[in-house]
Symmetry: D3
Subunit: 215 residues, 6 copies
């Protein structure tokens, strides 16, 4: 309700050119205009905003984990929270069924730091020198995955687990390694994958068929 | 334990100049050497590291809120997690007693995004055009405080509240407004404060005495 | 030869399309189109520009200081000098009557460095460790206020004073602390302010009434 | 030889505090002191330097491609060219035998742009939306691999191929996907890989054995 | 052709809201819309793209060097390769006739690193302490010109020479010193140049006439 | 408790103008340790600092202009004000005799904005498209020179002139064009200069002799 009042004053101010709503405000924030026809690096800014542009309730409930991997990532980035535009930070919630895996992936644009809401996870990242840095973490504990490095989390416990993940990017991006290589469209050629993984076409085709997007 | 193995391999690798531990690793991460005599912007890097440098368990339990303000901020920044050095992100946990306030403050170096772990909070930030943008948020909900702007959270509920806060800085810094002006050492002169707040010396001295650090 | 042709066309264009701005130029500079309907972080760029886009004469005369605080800040930022867009620097002139105060404030996006044009000033900033760093400075002297920290200047002399202030931002923004907390719209709730400053509602209301924008 | 003269003048100048060699120079460049005991993000700077710190001849000859993948990457980064420290750019030469593959990999810290010196290559990158963007390129042609995305090059021709690759990082880092997942030390657990690739332990162990570092 | 398929899938995916083509893609890349009426720092982004936006064949053949200086720079920057927008890197090819000179110039926005394709070059840069750092380099060798500093290359050999130059900017810009001072439009006043170079108007006019753009 | 002790020492120190800041402070500021043996990009940080590290009085008086060019630049950068380290801003004062010239030069690392303290100046910059953007400015007026572009100021008036110049760099660097090309050590070869300026060796040698550093 306070926010609505704020918006009212804001709009009113613009009409009157009063102090409370001068263009300065667009310099404190640049709330994403997600529907603009003009595309820029990030997003263009909306003229007006309310407190709701800085709010999101989509992480309040656990995500559904009844999929092949037994995990689900729910984003709270600039696409959901327009006020994050230009501000360089975002969150995700990740839920894991028992045995669930958030498979090896990278975020091209961010470091990730996770806080365990529930359960226990085996987590790790691999450096460019091919060293695995891993740890078992429990409820309330924190782990860091440095920018750009391949990392994963697995719930080897018997109960569901969940984390809040924070990123220093408004839209960190995710490149899930197995899907990137074996389920891209158009497909990465078999001869690239057989040579990269040193296996035969048969094994490559097997993985491709299993990772193919469900119809 | 895995991390110990990693470290062993790492050291071993250095001796043999093998692939697993070449200097490249210092380029993926620059784990803070918190005890170095050489001070730089951020921290210098340690020679070796383990998974524990990317881990922290200090936010697992609620902080004590039996203080004047009824709130406590517990940091999980580079000073606690050396692996965060150069990575540009950190967390905090904030606990609030019923009626507790995290008083108006700024973070000179970061935007903040909070996720409510427990309870309900009235939160807000003020733009440089002096517009208050505020909202009541509940468990599982998210709110954003743009970089550098004054903001606060208050628990107007009847039960404790808690949030996880994420920042896009390894050490965001906090400047608590009332304490900055009325409890600095040496003190900000009365004549600055009486003129800024348009009150008399008596009122200024009253606030100073109440905000003075406890002996 | 291609280069010669390019240059010819360029010169031709300059003569006829006058002011001087082929598309190459937009890469050296991006002169703000202050009237564009498209809002981005900063400003979109104008097609053409002249030397006047890099010029401003609004700081030549002292600002009027016959107000409550006895000081006036006159900006020379991207809103006044469109050529500053994307260039990351701006100036202000600040005038102070005898006894005048530029009250405690922050610039969320810049460090400030001042050069005293006239008179004498008592200046200071407060660190996040609540240490006041202060000094008396005279005509021709310089002082630095680090990015994001609360700072102030007061003319305790008997004659007017003035400074030129430089910022490493095209639009540094200013958050004046007392007005932010006691004169925002909608107002910051009394219960936040009484708890933050440890005073009663009466004192808070008194400050609010004195800092209220004049009708 | 000219460089030697330059150095002489430089050292001489320092002793005399003359204009030609004042500390300003360290601000134009910060030539890496690769042997310093103090580790920072990047490298500390050497006191003196010569033209050789900005020179490298290690890409003049083709690299040996008689390995499993039929390709070899030779770096010309800050570890080989100390003068690149803080300057944000580097090169590599990549040689490919007929049939040779530079397998799918990421550079956590850089975009890559290649220029084909010899031969023909099939190249591609995959976006985070799992779209393969690919092309066949020939001698003298250029292709771009955006920052952080998985990409590869394969020589499907009958003669050797070679490229010069440029990066906007002094040390872009390389994370070769297959080796990262199947040849890390300590190993990524089988249960992570079987779930990620949806195959059995047998297939995972087979890939691990084939990608294991040669003794 | 592959790219066309990719584009088709992309468009198709958008209609179906499927995973392969969500708006995320614009965050991996922001392919320049070179024809947009909206001008921003860099370029706005196109809605769709193909592999050709990341490809260029304009450096495959030597540039014509039958001009006064005996050299030609051919750019492969964002104006030629729209996919480079926001990615921070670009290439050029420079060809030199025997005796040819790429005259002293600066790149305001980039460091340059060159790889010699053919021939031999005498190259150098001058620091702000006025120290010339120079070297003779041959086919396959590399040299670095730090950001913003004046530098040049001269072919003192008897055969043509050529280099590939890489820059850490999508459009580094070039300010050729002699032309900047003696062939600008409108002209730099003679009294500035006579005083700067400590020569008479006659010498200045002579240089101006020789460097004047050919009609 | 440690914090209380730190604060006490701190207060004591400030009163005595001694030196005493706790490590937290180093995150707000990183005051340059100008004498450290460890060289980094910028400077390492001092353990302790006082208000004097943010103060400078060296621009209070006009610089001596009785030199060949009739102008003098006096810097107020990180080398003079250690507190500017990492803060990204600095000032200079430039004095001009009647007829005095600050000759064409670039700042590789900063945009410059000037405020005229006294007199009148003819100022200009040249874009990479070789367009001169120029203006006559008077006392109290402002002009901007975009980052990296060649620019100059000339006092064509009959009385002395002076400006305060601000830069968005703690040490912007200056490359004075004529001296860079004609007075470097070792010298830029005549054959480079004759070709670049299209004049004979005689003219080049004449300029070199006139610009040679005075013994």
């Amino acid at each position: 309700m306070t926010a609505m009042v704020a918006l009212f004053v804001l709009s009113f101010g613009i009409v009157l050119a009063s102090v409370t709503a001068d263009p300065d405000m667009l310099q404190d924030v640049c709330v994403a205009d997600l529907t603009s026809a003009v595309k820029v690096n990030g997003f263009t800014c909306k003229e007006n905003f309310t407190a709701d542009d800085f709010f999101f309730d989509g992480l309040a409930k656990p995500g559904l984990t009844n999929n092949t991997l037994g995990s689900l990532v729910t984003g709270a980035n600039v696409e959901k929270i327009p006020g994050l535009n230009t501000l360089g930070v975002s969150l995700s919630r990740i839920d894991y069924a028992p045995g669930g895996l958030n498979p090896p992936h990278t975020h091209p644009r961010a470091t990730e730091i996770i806080f365990v809401l529930e359960g226990q996870l085996d987590v790790g990242f691999i450096t460019t020198a091919n060293v695995l840095v891993s740890k078992t973490i429990n409820k309330g504990e924190i782990f860091v995955f440095p920018r750009g490095l391949v990392h994963f989390q697995k719930n080897n416990g018997k109960v569901p687990a969940a984390v809040i993940a924070a990123f220093n990017s408004q839209l960190p991006g995710t490149q899930s390694i197995a899907a990137t290589l074996f389920a891209a469209t158009p497909p990465v050629p078999d001869h690239v994958l057989t040579k990269a993984f040193q296996v035969g076409t048969k094994e490559v085709e097997k993985i491709k068929s299993r990772l193919a997007p469900k119809k």
